[in-house]
Amino acid sequence: MRSQGREKRLTLALVIVLSVMTVAAGMWLALMPGEQSKDETWERIQDEGLIRVAMDASYPPFEFIDEGGELVGYDVDLAWELARRFGVDAEFVIISFDGLYDALRVGRVDLIISALPFDSRLTEDVVYSHSYFNAGQVLVVRQTESGIVGVEDLPGKRVGVEWGSMGDVEARQLLRRMEFDLLPYAAPEEALAALDGGELDAAITDVVSTYQFSREQAGISIVGPPVTEDPYVMATRPKSFILQEQVNTAILELSASGFLDELRLRWF
């Protein structure tokens, strides 16, 4: 009995301590409005009329140097549109992928837009935006195909993949629980051409290659949810909370307005 009483007292004491700590933390936050309301990055962007965007220009069609030596791509156009909305100019800082986060951390840039996958390990170091593109693997069928609406419909079918790709890896995983003919091709375009030509019933390919192929060949479509998720996001410093809000608002509006679809059609 005495032991139970001591445990109750300890529990009560713990609750009190935690409550005091919570109240203290709340008071500290409330008394430090300057820390919360000031976004130095956003202020500098507005003062200088310039947002500095980091990207690794070796990922076509998202960001690359074209034959004329110009930096171009889906992300480049998206960055220009964000700058236009913010009423500022954009400066692009070309950095190899390994250095993108360092450049953001030391304040050399304000924002990373670089076909950047969401990385859950870094969410204490940076703040990620909403996703603006999912670059994962997708299931593709001919537009005349009505019997396949997802991977569960693949048993007994002929399924093409790019040999050795992540689509191939996913298909081999599916083969552990269902049976279908898995046919490898040297490139995703070859698998999609075989699909379009009737040699296959479906293909699992990366979404960018699929979009690019479907621009030329209108006879195929993506069905079902993505086979794999690979969301591309933008990254800001944790204290850039106004910039984060502005970026997220812009992404939602650009998605709703069809601008992101226009970008896709322009580049893929």
């Binding site: 998202f62 790019e162 040999w163 790709s165 890896v169 995983q173 040297a186 995703p188 990366d206």
Partner: protein, 341 residues
């Protein structure tokens, strides 16, 4: 730990660079090394950060994780090549990176090398001193300095041999780069090595470590000083020969190809399979090459960038097609070169 194993392979020069540094769970360490053995690679290169083993105070060494990795590797019949770098905070100035080591602390590093070689005597015989010292990033974001690095190598060599006279000391694997003198990011591996020889490095390493990445070129693409490809290894070898060091072997402690769908330095996945196996074959033919360790076998968690497309096995132990094809090659199959229709 289980019963001890041995590696079955047709090519005893096959290796992989494992990435177990941040792998916490023992079963994952064991499973990774088991898969290396089952693939048919007798060699692993693994990174043992000084700052992890001696993190807070000189002389306070924690061997627990390093022991786990080494003991499981040895149990799987693998030969370990240990890379030693990563400066603990106590051995470098504030606001420097973990690659920053000034000359005042060379002896501290030497003491660590001594302790490491001594601790693993009988289990590990090969030690890599630093990593890619010809890149500014790997030299603490300072201008690269072949002469200073050679001094570090001399300290480490002397201390390693004091701990185990029969061990093999490797230089820090040189990064393939065409950067010229004065470039802020690095210096050509060929120039850096020559300057190491000029600074007296010849007697302070037993095996030359280099990195050999193919980027978009096949392994038999001819070497050239202004080009980065796999066969650039032959040019590094020529520097050794020019300096009368032809009796030493070369270990390619990192190398290979990447198959990211969009990175401009990547190849198609089927090309990565073919090139990797062809490279293992080339290494077998090069009598001066002791090991080719492909970068990299598996990472503990997804890197979430192009680096994920260097690996052979996913973080959750799904075997990529390239793993399965290498495994077939290592066990004598001859049909791995069949390209898809």
């Amino acid at each position: 730990m289980g019963l001890p194993h041995s590696v079955e392979t047709v090519n005893p020069k096959m290796g992989v660079h494992t990435r177990l540094t941040d792998e916490v769970e023992e079963w994952k360490i064991q499973r990774t090394l088991q898969l290396v053995r089952e693939m048919g690679a007798p060699w692993i290169v693994e990174y043992f950060p000084w700052g992890y083993i001696e993190p807070s105070k000189k002389g306070e060494l924690d061997w627990q994780h390093a022991d786990l990795v080494v003991d499981h590797a040895v149990n799987q019949g693998l030969t370990v090549v240990a890379r030693l770098d990563f400066v603990p905070e106590w051995a470098r100035p504030k606001d420097t990176t973990f690659r920053y080591l000034d000359e005042q602390h060379f002896e501290d590093y030497g003491d660590f090398v001594y302790a490491f070689v001594d601790h693993f005597k009988g289990r590990v015989d090969y030690f890599i001193i630093w990593n890619e010292p010809n890149l500014s990033f790997e030299w603490g974001y300072r201008p690269v300095d072949p002469e200073a690095y050679t001094e570090l190598l001399k300290v480490a060599y002397r201390r390693a041999k004091e701990a185990n006279p029969d061990c093999y000391v490797l230089n820090g694997g040189l990064a393939p780069t065409i950067a010229r003198e004065g470039n802020e990011w690095g210096l050509s591996d060929l120039v850096f090595l020559q300057r190491m020889y000029d600074a007296g490095a010849k007697d302070y390493f037993d095996i030359l470590a280099i990195h050999a990445y193919g980027y978009v070129f096949p392994p038999d693409d001819p070497p050239a000083e202004d080009k980065i490809n796999f066969s650039r290894a032959e040019l590094v070898r020529e520097v050794m020969v020019r300096n009368g060091d032809e009796d030493k072997k070369v270990m390619i402690t990192e190398g290979g190809w990447n198959d990211h769908p969009r990175w401009t330095k990547a190849v198609r996945p089927y090309q990565r399979i073919l090139y990797t196996i062809q490279a293992y074959g080339l290494a077998a033919e090069w009598d001066w090459c002791q090991v080719l360790a492909i970068w990299s076998f598996r990472t503990p968690v997804p890197e979430k960038n192009f680096r994920d497309y260097y690996t052979l096995v996913t973080p959750d132990f799904i075997l990529k097609p390239i793993y399965l094809e290498i495994q077939k090659y290592a066990h004598g199959a001859t049909d791995w070169l069949v390209e898809p229709e």
